[in-house]
């Protein structure tokens, strides 16, 4: 096992103290007479670290569909379900009698050379079929939003645990010290809120930086408040910050062990460095009209999510390790026909644009794109026009970074209710993502309270079958 993977708090701080050029050095040894320059490389514990083995992907763009999109209407084609529409459901024993099977109101067609089945809800994305690796056998433990959403993000629905993005940054560091290693665009405040991008016991610097106040809705603005200091030019601000950090370091020394303060110190440095780079990265004005159009930014229906996808590409391009983009509102207990169509339309073109753009720039090989909800939906109806939560089988997909394109893995039963082959549990999903990043999910551990913790707890299987 690599040394850095087992770093108790005290030695982590030692690292901080001796890091060449690190502020800790400046602050604790009183060498701050000469302020560091704006482009200082005091990246603290964010510095790049070697993976366990050769990675297939370097970055992740995680497209998170909060609410649980229906798989049988999008990616999981079920002719039997359609044929038996209206019959009493033979699957999903309900407490008060069975619901009626609800066939998909949308047509499915084969797409690309691979001939993947994709519904007409995704006409643009369907043109990228040969990039997609569909996972039809997804499963999660709990069919309730907060638990499943947290499990998807942290592997645990009950305890506060580090997020997938935090584990990734902990394992690999990040390539641009002037930006956070993990960014979450418009994260929702419910379903566990910040826990979903939190670092828990991992160093606080690995936690996601939320950008935008969209709260999981599409179309929130992607600005960062107070990113510019209107009063002090950079050297003056640096001088002020050095003073603050010396007082903070002194407190940390008095406290001996204080992870939140340590995290705060690092977040100040990151914030200072972000001022220089982030506004530029978030500014979409320099993108060509063609690019903006490809992401659907010109169209009010796709603009919100299109901007998020384009920003995600720019962040990855700038060296951010893990970017999450949330689009909520997939909880179609009723009004499925209208609401699901609207939702799909709002993300279809942007995602197709993202995949095409990544490919064109040669970024898709190094970037793993993930699309998933916290669970799927039932093949039987709720009301006349709705579907209930389904944790027993649903579809996620991956693209780029080391997965087989135009590939479909696993299957649900003939109705789309329960995964019957190629099952991929949340823990397996996580293990596979880490594997693609060159990290062994059993080796990526953190010692806390006398025990080694992992993202996958005592579970997880790398889904070898989908590796390119």
């Amino acid at each position: 096992m690599l040394n850095y993977l087992k770093t108790p708090a005290a030695s982590r701080r030692d690292t901080l103290r001796v890091a060449a050029g690190g502020f800790g050095m400046l602050a604790l040894q009183g060498l701050a007479a000469k302020p560091a320059a704006a482009d200082t490389t005091t990246e603290g514990s964010l510095s790049t670290k070697p993976p366990h083995f050769a990675p297939r992907a370097k970055n992740v763009i995680f497209l998170c569909m909060g609410g649980g999109p229906s798989h049988v209407d999008t990616f999981d084609y079920k002719p039997t379900l359609n044929k038996r529409n209206g019959e009493s459901s033979p699957v999903g024993r309900n407490r008060r009698g069975n619901g009626q099977l609800l066939g998909s109101p949308w047509k499915f067609n084969r797409h690309g050379d691979s001939g993947l089945w994709i519904s007409e809800l995704f006409p643009n994305l369907a043109t990228r079929a040969d990039d997609l690796c569909l996972l039809h056998g997804m499963q999660t433990d709990v069919p309730a939003h907060p638990q499943a959403f947290l499990a998807l993000h942290t592997g645990s629905s009950q305890f506060v645990r580090p997020s997938l993005g935090a584990w990734t940054v902990y394992g690999l560091g990040t390539e641009n010290a002037n930006l956070p290693g993990f960014v979450s665009l418009n994260p929702p405040t419910s379903q566990g809120g910040p826990q979903n991008y939190g670092s828990s016991f991992l160093p606080a610097i690995t936690q996601g930086t939320p950008i935008g106040r969209g709260r999981g809705r599409r179309g929130g603005s992607l600005t960062v408040e107070n990113i510019k200091n209107e009063r002090y030019a950079t050297p003056a601000q640096r001088r002020q910050l050095d003073f603050v950090q010396k007082l903070n370091a002194a407190k940390l020394q008095r406290d001996v062990d204080n992870d939140p303060v340590e995290g705060m110190i690092e977040s100040y440095e990151l914030a200072f460095r972000m001022q220089a780079d982030l506004p530029e990265v978030l500014d979409l004005n320099n993108e060509s009209a063609a690019t903006r159009n490809a992401y659907g930014i010109d169209d009010s229906e796709t603009e919100g999510f299109g901007r998020q996808c384009l920003v995600a590409r720019r962040l990855v391009e700038a060296g951010v390790r893990f970017v999450e983009v949330t689009a909520g509102g997939w909880d179609q207990h009723f009004n499925l026909t209208q609401a699901l169509a609207d939702n799909c339309r709002s993300i279809d073109k942007p995602i197709a644009g993202l995949l095409a753009d990544l490919k064109k720039r040669g970024l898709l090989d190094d970037t793993l794109v993930i699309w998933t909800g916290e669970f799927g939906r039932t093949p039987y109806a709720q009301g006349d026009d709705g579907r209930d939560h389904n944790n027993k089988g649903f579809t996620s997909w991956m693209a780029g970074g080391g997965v087989k394109g135009g590939f479909s893995y696993g299957a649900t039963d003939e109705f789309g209710y329960e995964a019957v082959e190629g099952k991929v549990h949340t823990h397996d999903f996580h293990a596979t993502i880490l594997h693609l990043l060159g990290l062994d999910h059993e080796g990526l551990t953190y010692e806390y309270a006398g025990r080694d913790f992992r993202l996958t707890d005592v579970h997880g299987r790398v889904v070898e079958e989908i590796l390119a």
Binding site: R93, N94, R95, R96, G97, D141, P143, A144, P180, T189, S190, G193, P194, G198, Q207, T209, P210, R213, T223, V224, E225, I227, E230, R231, Y232, A233, P235, A236, Q237, R239, Q240, F243, L247, N248, A250, K251, D255, V256, D257, N258, P260, V261, G263, M264, I265, S267, Y268, L270, A271, M274, Q275, H333, Q382, G383, D388, Y448, A449, G450, R451, V458
Partner: protein, 770 residues
């Protein structure tokens, strides 16, 4: 003892990891937790496998075994067990300490010593009033010649009597009550009357209203006898608790809306008062807790027999309006910041003239005009024909014909099943469904049941909340969930003891807080010991006082207080009181930002869902869409950007600097005064030297004309994007706070002091309690 055992005391979770090497190893552990773990594993191995509860298909209705479910610790009435005799008997000041010390001894942990008075004073000021002590006040406490117990007791009495106590502890309850002044969700409509409930909560804590009474008023205040009109008004306002939740004002199906409102009310009462997630049972038997769907609809019947009176307008895009509650004419209630009759008359005139105007051919203009007309109409609802404010509140009252309701199959409005008699949760009572007074909703009976001494949850859940606010973590770490999925208490005997003590002492919050802050446990220092930290890094067993970050409100209030600009008077009403309709237009023109500019305490800032003021949002303010018993704590770069770059923080730093400069003291004394104001202590010798070096250095570089590093504020502080620009343009007209004097750009010494003042705001120490 490892983390996994300490926390994994829940059967469902353990089922998932049972058999793993780590768990088996933990089960061999000889401590109390090890024994507990073995017991649970045995139970799991038996036929009544709780792990099965995970399978949503497994239990068919009626199969929830209530008798077995009643085994859950939290469903037993609390029982006082005499604390074990501890080795160091002099350590304990109170029974609370004896329980804590017993657990420490069992875990082999040695508690640290007492905090010094200065540290303890700052801790008490913030915990009890949410504000920093003034340097003179703190000195007086530190120098009090009385014995510690006497001096601390006196201070605690004083702080509990301060009106700021209610503002701070009322805010804790507002987190639970998911208080906000708009409906949230897609339509997000202002709720202009919400502030009355906020003021009611603050006043209740200041008056130390017994919590059983406080809960009863919030669930059924309108059904209680009232001594006079004023009392009747207060009790009606209390029911705002049920009215202020998030709502889909654009829901098309009115029955769906009613079911959703009732569901939200059940959820808030359930989690807020009982620590149970009842609402999960809406569509099916609860996945985890023993709450059959029947129980849910028994409670839903109560709330569906209740009429929402939230004072929400009927809008074109948000049609689920509801009238407001009319308060008795003679009730002595505050007026709030109403529009004056002249302003109301102008709205009336505008409405009249728009009725005459011919519709515009421009569709966009038509939409804007419709919105203005609708909002004007909504505003006028709050005034009588003489343009004087009506006495209104948001709350609930009983429907004309209360009735039982039917189970909705899978929660669907159009699938009514069997009628269920109104009632409560069977798992907490083995008595038959209660008799509900004829013609009443049953809220009064529900309130009586919640606050009855026999209810095993209410007092436990409440004392745990209070404990959490004073110690940084509840004895039960999941304060809103005492069900199967919640954590077990770290100190079960202590929790029971406190619950019983609380009910026997008149459900008094102040008495409980006083008892707790006088303990040895609370008065310990937060010093680190390596040996303890190794086995209990999270301080679960309370071997020291935990270091805690201040809540968002306290950080902002402290900046205002230290700068000398804090307006300590309660705010009148709310900026939202003069708004109506959807929040959208106010968002667009930066009006919400302007509304949040205030020198009053943070509890009085407008809380519009999805538009929480930046100063609060950035420091993990509670999400008002949810019952929040413990806020998350992040440390993210946005917080640094806020304290280092925010215009308002910079203004406060100027005020703070000027306050220090105005004392006309020597350099050394000035620096000392600033530290005492901001951090409650004088600087160390090293800090004194460091600071003065910083001041000289900063002033000198600023003075060098070659590269002016400080940009004059007048020319630059106006470029924060469109919203900011609007805010700035209107500020002069709307903001009652006088503009600060423009800073001199030719006074390097002052500039340096301002930079230093802001630096103190930015330190970790400013926002942490030792």
């Amino acid at each position: 003892m490892s983390q996994s055992v300490r926390i994994a005391l829940c059967g469902v979770c353990l089922a998932a990891v049972a058999g793993s090497a780590a768990i088996e190893a933990d089960a061999q552990d000889r401590s109390r937790d090890g024994a507990r773990l073995r017991a649970i594993l045995e139970r799991l191995a038996g036929p009544a496998d709780r792990g099965q509860a995970h399978d949503p298909d497994a239990p068919v209705e009626g199969e929830i075994d209530l008798t077995e479910a009643r085994d859950h610790w939290a469903f037993h009435p609390p029982v006082v067990e005499t604390p074990e005799v501890v080795r160091d008997r002099r350590w304990a000041r109170d029974d609370v300490d004896r329980y804590v010390r017993a657990a420490l001894e069992e875990e082999g942990l040695e508690p640290v010593g007492d905090a010094d008075r200065r540290t303890l004073g700052r801790r008490l000021w913030f915990d009890l009033t949410g504000l920093p002590p003034g340097p003179e006040e703190l000195d007086k406490f530190v120098d009090d010649p009385a014995a510690d117990d006497v001096a601390v007791g006196r201070l605690v009495d004083r702080l509990l009597a301060s009106p700021h106590f209610g503002e701070t502890w009322g805010r804790h309850w507002l987190d639970v009550a998911r208080y906000a002044e708009s409906t949230g969700k897609e339509a997000n409509v202002f709720m202009p009357l919400a502030w009355r409930y906020r003021d009611y909560v603050i006043a209740s804590f200041n008056a130390d209203k017994p919590i059983d009474r406080f809960f009863t008023e919030q669930v059924a205040g309108d059904l209680l006898d009232a001594a006079d009109d004023t009392a009747a008004a207060e009790q009606a306002i209390a029911t705002g608790f049920l009215a202020l939740g998030p709502k889909s004002q654009n829901e098309r199906n009115s029955e769906q809306y009613m079911l959703d409102v009732a569901d939200e009310q059940i959820d808030t009462v359930g989690r807020g008062m009982l620590g149970l997630t009842v609402a999960c049972a809406r569509c099916h038997d609860h996945e985890f807790d023993p709450i059959p769907t029947e129980d849910y609809y028994a409670m839903a019947g109560i709330f569906l027999s209740t009429d929402l009176r939230a004072g929400l307008p009927f809008l074109q895009n948000a049609r689920r309006g509801s009238r407001a509650l009319r308060l008795p004419e003679d009730a002595d209630v505050p007026l709030g910041n109403t529009l004056n009759p002249e302003q109301v008359r102008r709205i009336r005139d505008r409405l009249d003239s728009s009725a005459d105007a011919s519709p515009s051919s421009n569709p966009a203009a038509r939409i804007v005009r419709t919105a203005i007309i609708q909002n004007d109409k909504a505003k006028l609802e709050l005034y009588d024909n003489d343009n004087r404010p009506r006495k209104l509140a948001a709350g609930v009252k009983d429907r004309l014909r209360p009735a039982d309701t039917a189970v909705r199959v899978r929660g669907e409005p159009d699938k009514p099943g069997d009628l269920v008699r109104r009632g409560f949760l069977q798992v907490l009572t083995d008595e038959p469904r209660p008799e509900i007074a004829r013609g009443q909703s049953g809220r009064l009976e529900l309130a009586e049941w919640i606050t009855s001494p026999g209810n095993p949850l209410t007092a436990r859940v409440y004392v745990n909340r209070v404990w959490g606010h004073l110690f940084g973590r509840g004895l039960v770490e999941t304060p809103d969930n005492f069900g199967i999925m919640g954590f077990e208490p770290s100190h079960p005997e202590l929790l029971d003891y406190l619950a019983v003590w609380f009910t026997e002492n008149g459900w008094s919050t102040k008495a409980l807080i006083k008892k707790l802050v006088l303990t040895r446990t609370y008065r310990m220092s937060s010093d680190y010991t390596a040996a303890n930290a190794l086995s209990d890094p999270d301080n679960i067993y309370l071997w020291r006082m935990s270091k805690r970050r201040l809540p968002a409100e306290a950080i902002r209030d402290a900046m205002l207080a230290v700068s000398g600009v804090l307006d300590r008077r309660p705010a009148e009403g709310s900026p939202v009181y003069t708004e109506a309709g959807q929040t959208r237009s106010a968002e667009r023109f930066g009006k919400l930002e302007r509304m949040a500019i205030s020198d009053h305490r943070s509890v009085y800032l407008p809380i519009v869902r999805a538009q929480i003021p930046e100063s609060l949002e950035v420091f993990d303010f509670a999400d008002p869409n949810n019952v929040t018993g413990d806020r998350p704590e992040t440390s993210i770069p946005s917080q640094a950007l806020y304290v280092l770059n925010d215009e308002r923080v910079m203004e406060l730093a100027e005020k703070f600097a000027d306050r220090v400069i105005a004392m006309g003291m020597s350099d050394a004394r000035s620096v000392e005064y600033a530290y005492r104001l901001a951090l409650g202590r004088p600087p160390t010798r090293g800090e004194q030297a460091l600071t003065r070096a910083f001041l000289v250095d900063f002033a000198r570089t600023q003075g060098s004309a070659a590269s002016p590093e400080i940009v004059p504020r007048t020319t630059t502080l106006r470029t924060r994007g469109q919203a900011g620009r609007f805010a700035d343009r209107f500020r002069g007209r709307f903001d009652r706070r006088p503009e600060s004097a423009e800073p001199s750009t030719t006074n390097p010494r002052r500039d340096a002091t301002v930079a230093f003042a802001q630096a103190l705001f930015a330190t970790a120490e400013f926002r942490y309690l030792d």
